[in-house]
């Protein structure tokens, strides 16, 4: 009877957890699709290759070896322990116990690997916690954009991971002791739990309860954590894969072309050039398209996908020449602001709603609260040297530079709000064909009185 009740309860909990997650994913998908279309190009095989190397293979993490190894432990732990989650799901539905035991020696290896990885995960998580929370944390875990919520979020993830591992060990240790008392051999090898058996009570009922509690905490914890992801930077464990897959496969120096401007320029140069009709909305009215990005939904869907893939690790900001030298610009802030803004304007996930977030005040310079000025200030945008260091540094191929350029385009083309010295540069190019105020007739003077040694 208890068994059947457990099965029914489990089915309900699992359905609720997975259904809720699907509902949240739909909202986020809708948010991302608020972005503008982007010409993608590139071959599927090249994309798969990149995904295998950068996402699965964590290639770019290995630029910094210490966090790379710590992260690898948690990542591999996540992958392998998920096999055990499959077993838990099957056991939960069908009321079986350790259904994968038929794997025999392979089950021994699987359980032993799980246990060793579980212990290593706890050690790695402790190291992560120390790197973030000591008096002088690793520098990239500080910064204006790391306000109260992102800091709390980072720690919640660590606490949950430890809790899940402890539940796993409780379950295994109690199960092991139970089998020892009953004189039956438990399938699997448990190098860590066999050390913890001594801590377990000798009462069979208590052991049964402990085993069940461990089992339930582990699986309910995982389902709850799954529903926490969309509110968290930890969403990267899913989003990193599509994000890397959709990386722009062009040289990093190649900035996007604005096709609507190309049509305009071509029509200016050749009056017979056929300008394509502007896009129309459902009622047939032409859609007024803005140049560049004023708000988050003016960006491309790729920029928005980027925002949902960000782990807020700060590698981008730590290599940004502007940030290193004390300017306001932080590429991580641009990405985090984008995610906050799209959720503020459209759908927000279950737990974290930027609208209701009472963190420290942001620098608002715009009543409307749009991405530019409402969140990102022109001062940040103009400090960028377009050096691509942030793009190169991102372990999941986020491109903050692409968003920065879209926002600069808005400032220049829609508001003529470039710094004055840049307006002078523009008019020099227009009038002299050079960004400096030199006379075009002096352009070839460098060749005067030029001699070469005859050899």
């Amino acid at each position: 009877m208890v068994q059947v009740l457990q099965q029914i309860l489990f089915l309900l909990v699992a359905a609720l957890g997975i259904g809720l997650f699907a509902w949240q994913v739909r909202k986020i998908r809708a948010n991302i699709l608020r972005g503008k279309d982007r010409d993608m190009g590139g071959s599927v095989s090249e994309r798969i290759n990149k995904t295998l190397l950068v996402a699965f293979g964590q290639q770019k993490m290995f630029k910094r070896i210490t966090p790379a190894l710590l992260h690898l432990v948690v990542y591999v732990g996540f992958l392998v322990i998920n096999i055990e989650v499959i077993e838990i799901m099957i056991d939960g539905i069908f009321g079986t116990h350790r259904v994968l035991r038929f794997l025999g020696p392979l089950y021994d290896v699987l359980m032993a690997t799980n246990e060793v990885l579980g212990a290593l995960v706890i050690i790695a998580v402790a190291a992560f916690w120390w790197r973030r929370n000591r008096t002088q944390p690793v520098r990239r875990f500080t910064g204006v954009e790391l306000r109260a919520w992102p800091k709390l979020d980072a720690n919640i993830i660590l606490y949950v991971e430890v809790a899940l591992m402890l539940a796993l060990f409780t379950m295994n240790s109690a199960d092991l002791k139970l089998h020892q008392l009953e004189g039956v051999e438990l399938p699997g090898t448990f190098p860590v739990s066999s050390l913890l058996v001594g801590l377990m009570p000798d009462n069979v009922t208590a052991l049964h309860v402990l085993e069940r509690v461990g089992w339930w905490i582990h699986i309910v914890g995982i389902l709850a954590f799954l529903n926490y992801l969309p509110s968290s930077k930890h969403f990267h464990i899913i989003m990193a894969f599509p994000n890397v897959y959709y990386t722009r496969l062009v040289p990093q120096g190649q900035f996007s072309n604005v096709d609507s401007i190309t049509h305009e320029v071509k029509a200016m140069l050749d009056p017979s050039y056929p300008v394509p009709a502007p896009p129309v909305d459902a009622e047939g009215n032409p859609v007024v398209q803005r140049f560049g990005a004023k708000d988050a939904d003016d960006l491309s869907w790729l920029n928005l996908l980027n925002a949902y893939s960000c782990t807020e690790c700060g590698r981008c900001t730590s290599v940004c020449p502007a940030n290193i030298t004390g300017k306001l610009l932080s590429p991580r802030k641009i990405i985090m602001d984008t995610r906050d803004r799209i959720e503020e304007k459209y759908e927000s996930p279950l737990i974290f709603e930027p609208n209701k977030y009472q963190g420290e005040e942001r620098v608002h310079v715009d009543e409307e609260g749009t991405l530019v000025r409402g969140k990102v200030t022109p001062e940040e945008l103009w400090a960028c040297t377009t050096c691509n260091a942030c793009v190169e540094a991102c372990p999941v191929n986020i491109n903050p530079l692409d968003s920065i350029i879209e926002m600069r385009r808005y400032l220049v083309l829609e508001e003529s709000a470039a710094p004055n010295s840049l307006n002078v540069m523009f008019s020099n190019i227009e009038n002299n064909g050079a960004p400096w105020a030199f006379s075009p007739s002096d352009r070839f003077n460098w060749a005067d009185d030029l001699y070469v040694a005859e050899k």
């Binding site: 020449p321 030298t325 691509n388 260091a389 600069r408 083309l413 010295s421 070469v452």
Partner: protein, 299 residues
């Protein structure tokens, strides 16, 4: 120095003149605005022409027909101005049937190579570092017979638009390796190189408020590398670990060289060296200048 040798005056061939004779150059040398107007970078342009003359490549320049590629306008967000410039240049290139372009400016290189195709301009574009590397590999430039750089300490500053933007890291280093100098790498080099601070149209504006100028930060790193100052290098922030090479040995660098391959890096690093009052014992040179001088082409 090499013994006194004969010199001859160079009459730089203009594309318009070649076209009027129905000739095509092997390669068009795109000089760029800095190469044409900036007094310091004009010396690089002249050094590169000396090399072209020396090896006998059939080349031409556009002279007064050149106009800004539009790079600074595009980086600053002025897409309209960029495309106007680009269309004008594409019309010029196509009018002459240009196929191959070499330039000493990574910004012009990146823009013509990567951003002109979307506007209908398709050319083989190479940066002068790759071009020089090819000449050296083919034995057409021996890097001998002029000034010797043997044993002099040189560090190469990667230009963002050559390096991260286009993945060209080895060509400039191979050119420098041919000098038989004491090449040392900055901690932040290649893909992890630190910008000089001039890209993205920063060249034409004052930096935003901060605690330091970017070119000073980068110059300090270059100087500490040339000096082998381990303490200064360890204090750097933003360094990705796993960079090749250990800290160079301490050295009283009284003739160190910061090598560059970009007109903006040239300006920023030269200003940085002046800012640190090291212009008496550290010089900033472009790759073409080093090659021309090692080959003994200056006259």
């Amino acid at each position: 120095m090499a013994e006194q040798v004969a010199k001859r005056q160079v009459s730089v061939p203009l594309m318009a003149d070649l076209a009027s004779r129905g000739e095509q150059p092997e390669v068009l040398f795109w000089v760029g605005c800095a190469g044409a107007f900036d007094d310091r970078y004009k010396r690089v342009t002249r050094a590169f022409v000396r090399i072209l003359e020396h090896v006998g490549v059939k080349y031409a320049v556009l002279g007064m027909e050149e106009t800004c590629t539009g790079d600074p306008a595009k980086r600053a967000g002025n897409e309209f101005l960029f495309q106007m410039q680009a269309m004008q240049n594409i019309t010029t290139f196509d009018g002459y049937g240009i196929k191959k372009i070499v330039t000493a400016c990574p910004h012009c290189f990146n823009t013509i190579k990567n951003e002109y195709p979307a506007l209908g301009g398709n050319y083989e574009v190479i940066h002068h570092s790759t071009f020089l590397q090819q000449l050296i590999n083919e034995g057409r430039v021996k890097v001998q017979g002029g000034e010797s750089y043997k044993g002099r300490r040189i560090t190469f500053h990667d230009s963002c638009y050559l390096g991260r933007a286009n993945n060209i890291y080895e060509a400039p280093r191979e050119v420098l390796a041919a000098l038989d100098a004491d090449l040392v790498e900055m901690k932040r080099s290649k893909a992890n190189g630190l910008c000089c601070g001039a890209g993205g149209a920063q060249m034409w504006k004052e930096p935003e408020p901060g605690k330091k100028d970017i070119n000073v930060e980068r110059t300090e790193e270059a100087l500490a590398t040339l000096d082998g100052n381990a303490a200064a290098l360890d204090a750097l922030y933003g360094v990705e670990s796993g960079n090749e090479g250990a800290t160079p040995s301490p050295k009283k660098s009284d003739n160190g060289i910061i090598a560059v391959g970009c007109p903006f890096c040239m300006t920023m690093m030269s200003d940085g060296v002046k800012n640190k009052e090291r212009e008496n014992n550290v010089q900033v040179f472009d790759l073409a200048e080093l090659v021309a001088s090692a080959e003994g082409l200056n006259a």
